[in-house]
Symmetry: C2
Subunit: 479 residues, 2 copies
C-alpha cells in the first residue's frame, strides 16, 4: 500500500493546476518522453498504441468513404511552397529548412513539410487530365513539422503525427459536400470512438486555413472549459489549382480547374482524450481506443489455482478484447493504482473466494463501481459494460460542456463571463475581424471557435460593436 499511496500522490490535482496535472499524466502514464530535440516528443508504447487504435478506426472510415492512401515526399522545394501566396505566408514563420544534403549546400533549400497541399497539387497536375480522372480522393498518414516556440506534449509540438486528406473534384458542389462529409466523419469518430462531444461549424475569415476559401472545425471542450481545435476540413475552391495549373477537360470539352479540399486530425486527439476524460487518479481511456480494455489482477495469487484460473480467464477474453494479465510480484494495491493511472476501462479481480463462487469482480475505471459477474457469461457482460462505460463517458463530457457553455448579450456580460468562468460563450457577431481582435485583446485570448451550422438568434446586434449581427458565434480560449 505504500507504493500505491506514493503513486497516487505523484499526480497534481486536476482542479489545483490543470496544466501540471496534464503533464504529470503524460509522463506517469508513460505516454511520452521528452527528447533532446526541442519541441519534439518520444511517443512511448502505451501512447503509440492509442494512436494505432485511432488510426485503424479512422482509416476504416476514410476507406469506407472512398479514399485511398498515398505517400508524398517529406520535403518541399522552396519554389514549390511559394506557388500559392496565402499559403506560404501562413506557414513561412514555422518552417524548418534543410540547406545541406550529402555534405553539399543545396542549390535550393527544402522545407520539411508543415502540410502537403503543394506536393499533392504538383502530383495532381500530372495525373488529372479529364473529368474521368475525378474525383481524386487521397489521404496520407505521416509526420509534419511546424517550428513552435512553446510546446506541450500532444497539444503543440514541433513535429507531430497526423493524417492529411487532399481531394480534387469536378464541381464546387462535390468539393463542398466532401468538406462537410469529412467534418461529419470526424464528428462521428469523436463521438463514437473517443466518447467526446463537440461543437462543429465554420471558422471565421480570420481563423481559416492559409489559402482556404472556407474552413470547418470540430471543437471539443476540455474539462477545464478550454477549447481544443480538434480537426479541420478546408474547401479551397480552385485557388491552388490555378496556381499549380491543374486543369481537366470537362464534359463540355472545355478546360476547367478542379475544386479542392483538405482535412486533417493529429496526435493532438490524444491530448483531448486526456483533458476531456481524465481525473485525479490519471487517465480514463475510452474503451474503443484503450490499448488495454481489461486488466486482470489475480488476488492472493500465491494460493493454489488462482494464477491458473486467472490465465485461463484472460486467454478466453483475449479472443474478444485487449487484455493484460498482471501476475507480477507487485501488490494488488499497486496494480490497482497502476491501471487506474493508465486509464484501463475495466479491472478484473479474481481471488480464491471468487473462484469458489465461479465469479469475478469487475471494477469500472470511470465510476469505481464494483460488479460481481459469473464466469459463465463474462465476455457478454464485459462487452456490454465497455459500451456502458463509453456512453457514460460521453454523457459526462457532454454535461461538462453544457454546464460551461454560456450566453452573452452585452459586451460587459461577455467580459465578465470570460473572466469568471472558462468555457464557450455564445454571442452574436457583426462579421468584422476588428471585433474578433477587440474581443481577443480585452479578454486575454478569447477567440471565435466557429459559426455553428444551426445558429440561435440571441439578439440582433453584435455583442462587441452593436452593429447589426450576421452570425451567432461560439467563442472561447483554446489550447
Amino acid at each position: 500500500m505504500a507504493d500505491n499511496k506514493k503513486m497516487v500522490e505523484a499526480i497534481t490535482s486536476r482542479d489545483e493546476d490543470f496544466a501540471k496535472w496534464y503533464t504529470d499524466i503524460v509522463k506517469k502514464a508513460e505516454l511520452v518522453d521528452y527528447s533532446g530535440v526541442k519541441g519534439c516528443m518520444v511517443i512511448r508504447p502505451y501512447g503509440y498504441a492509442i494512436w494505432e487504435n485511432i488510426q485503424r478506426d479512422l482509416d476504416r472510415r476514410f476507406k469506407e468513404t472512398g479514399h485511398e492512401n498515398v505517400y508524398m515526399p517529406m520535403f518541399i522545394p522552396e519554389s514549390l511552397l511559394q506557388k500559392e501566396k496565402d499559403h506560404v505566408e501562413g506557414f513561412a514563420p514555422e518552417c524548418a529548412w534543410v540547406t545541406i544534403g550529402g555534405s553539399e549546400k543545396l542549390s535550393e533549400r527544402l522545407v520539411v513539410r508543415p502540410t502537403s497541399e503543394t506536393l499533392f497539387c504538383e502530383h495532381y497536375a500530372k495525373i488529372i487530365n479529364t473529368y474521368r480522372d475525378l474525383p481524386k480522393l487521397y489521404n496520407q498518414w505521416c509526420s509534419v513539422v511546424r517550428w513552435e516556440k512553446t510546446t506541450r506534449p500532444f497539444l503543440r509540438t514541433s513535429e507531430f503525427l497526423w493524417q492529411e486528406g487532399h481531394t480534387m473534384h469536378e464541381t464546387q458542389e462535390e468539393a463542398e459536400a466532401e468538406t462537410l462529409q469529412m467534418l461529419r466523419v470526424y464528428e462521428d469518430f469523436y463521438r463514437e470512438t473517443l466518447a467526446i462531444p463537440a461543437v462543429v461549424g465554420r471558422k471565421t475569415e480570420k481563423e481559416k486555413f492559409a489559402g482556404a476559401e472556407a474552413t470547418y472545425t470540430i471543437e471539443p471542450m476540455m474539462h477545464n472549459g478550454v477549447a481544443l481545435q480538434g480537426g479541420t476540413t478546408h474547401y479551397f475552391g480552385t485557388g491552388f489549382a490555378e496556381s499549380f495549373d491543374i486543369t481537366f477537360q470537362g464534359r463540355d470539352n472545355k478546360l476547367h480547374f478542379p475544386h479542392q479540399t483538405s482535412w486533417g486530425v493529429s496526435t493532438r486527439m490524444i491530448g483531448a482524450i486526456i483533458m476531456v476524460h481524465g481525473d485525479d487518479d490519471g487517465l480514463i481511456l475510452p474503451p474503443r481506443v484503450a490499448p488495454i480494455q481489461v486488466a486482470v489482477v489475480p488476488i492472493a495469487q500465491h494460493k493454489e489455482g488462482v494464477l491458473d484460473k486467472a490465465y485461463e480467464v484472460a486467454e478466453t477474453l483475449k479472443k474478444q478484447f485487449r487484455v493484460k494479465i498482471d501476475a507480477s510480484d507487485n501488490s494488488p494495491g499497486w496494480k490497482f493504482s497502476q491501471y487506474e493511472m493508465q486509464g484501463v476501462p475495466l479491472r478484473l479481480e479474481l481471488g480464491p473466494k471468487d473462484i469458489e463462487k465461479n465469479q469475478c469482480v469487475l471494477v469500472r475505471r470511470d465510476t469505481r463501481e464494483k460488479i460481481f459477474v459469473s464466469l459463465d457469461n463474462l465476455a457478454d457482460e464485459i462487452a456490454k459494460l465497455l459500451d456502458t462505460i463509453h456512453d457514460a463517458m460521453y454523457q459526462r463530457a457532454l454535461e461538462n460542456m453544457q454546464a460551461k457553455t454560456f450566453e452573452a448579450r452585452t459586451f460587459d456580460e461577455f467580459l465578465t463571463t470570460a473572466k469568471e468562468t472558462p468555457g464557450f460563450i455564445k454571442a452574436m457577431w457583426c462579421g468584422d475581424t476588428a471585433c474578433e481582435e477587440k474581443i481577443k485583446e480585452e479578454t486575454g485570448g478569447v477567440k471565435s471557435r466557429c459559426i455553428p451550422f444551426e445558429e440561435e438568434n440571441l439578439s440582433d446586434v453584435c455583442v462587441c460593436c452593436g452593429k447589426p449581427a450576421k452570425h451567432m458565434v461560439y467563442w472561447g480560449k483554446q489550447y
Copy 2:
C-alpha cells in the same frame, strides 16, 4: 484491341533492358510518380496499398514476437549523432541537415534521421534502470532520409519508408538470439507472404552496419541474377550502451551495460517483388500482398443480367478477398491488359454463356491458365488457387535462383563466371578485406553477399589469394 496492344507495347522487354523494364513497370502500373524533390518519390495508391499489406503482415509478426511500436523524433541533434564514432562515420556523408527553424539559424544543426539508433539510445538511457526493465523490444514505422546521388524508385531513394526495430537485452545470448530471430521473421515473411526465396547469413566485417558487431542479411536474387539486400539485423554488443551511458542494475546488484540489436526492412521490398516476379506484361503480385486479388471483368456487359450477376458475384467474394469489379466502358481486352499490367493474381470473366452454365472463367496471371469454375463453390476454388499461385511463384523464383547460383574454385573461374552470367557465386574466402576489395575491383562490383549459416567446403583455400580459407561466401552484384 488497339488500346490493349498499345499498352503492352509500352513496356520494354525484361530480357532486352532490365533497368528500363523496371522503371516502365513502376510508372505504368502506377506504383510511383517522380516528385520535384531530387531522389524522392510519390508512392501512388496502388503502390501504397502493397506497402499497407506488407505492414499489416509484418506488424503482426513483430507483435507476436513481443515487440511494441513507438515513435521517435525525425530529427537528431548533431552532438547526439556523434556519440558513437563508427556510426557517425558511416552516415555522415548521406545526411540531410536542418540549419534553420522558425526563421532563425539553429544553434545546433539537426540531421533528418537516416536511422534512429542514437534516438533510441538517448531514450533507453532514461527508462532502463534495472534488469527488471529488460528486455525492451521496440519497433518504429517511419520514413528515413539518406542523401543519394543516383536513385531508382523503391530500390534507392533519398527518402524511404521502413520499420526499424531497436531492442535492449540483459545478456549477449538474449540479444544474439533476438538478432537471429528477427532474421528468421524476415525470411519467413519473404517466403510466406512475398513468395520470395533468399540466401540468409552473416555479413563480412567490410559489409556490416556502421557500429554493429555483427550484421545478418537476407539476400533475395532478382530475376536477372542481381542480388538485393532485402533486410538486415544487427547485433551491437554494448558499444552504443557504453557511448550513451545506458546501464542497469543486474541480478548481482552490480551495474551492467545492456546488449543491443536493431533490424529493418523497407519499401525496397516492393522493388524485390517487381524484379523477382514480374514479366513482359507487367507486375505479377504475390496474392497475399496484392491490393486486388481478383479482378472481375464482365463480358458483353450490355446484355441483360450480366452486370447484375457480376456485381452479385463480386459482392459475395468481397467478404473473403480483395476484389475489384470493372464495369467501365473500356473493352474487355483493355481490361485484361490493365489487370495483367497491375499483376492482379486472378481475373474472373463472366459473360452470358457462363451465367447460363452457372460458371465463370478464372485466369491466372502467373501462368495464363484458364479455369472454368462453378459459381457454387467459387470462393473455395479461389482460396485454393491463390495459395497455388503463391506456391508456384515461390517455386519459379527458387528455380531461377538455383539456376543462377554458381561455384568457383579458382580465381579465373570466379572472374569468368562473374563476367558471363549474373548470379550468386559460392566461393571460399580467407577472411581478409583485401580479397573482398580485389574481387570487387576485378569484377566490376561483385561483393560478398553473406556467409551462410550452413557453409559448404568447396576447397581449402581462398578463391582470391590462395591462403587457407575460413568461410564459404555467397558473392554477387547488388542493387
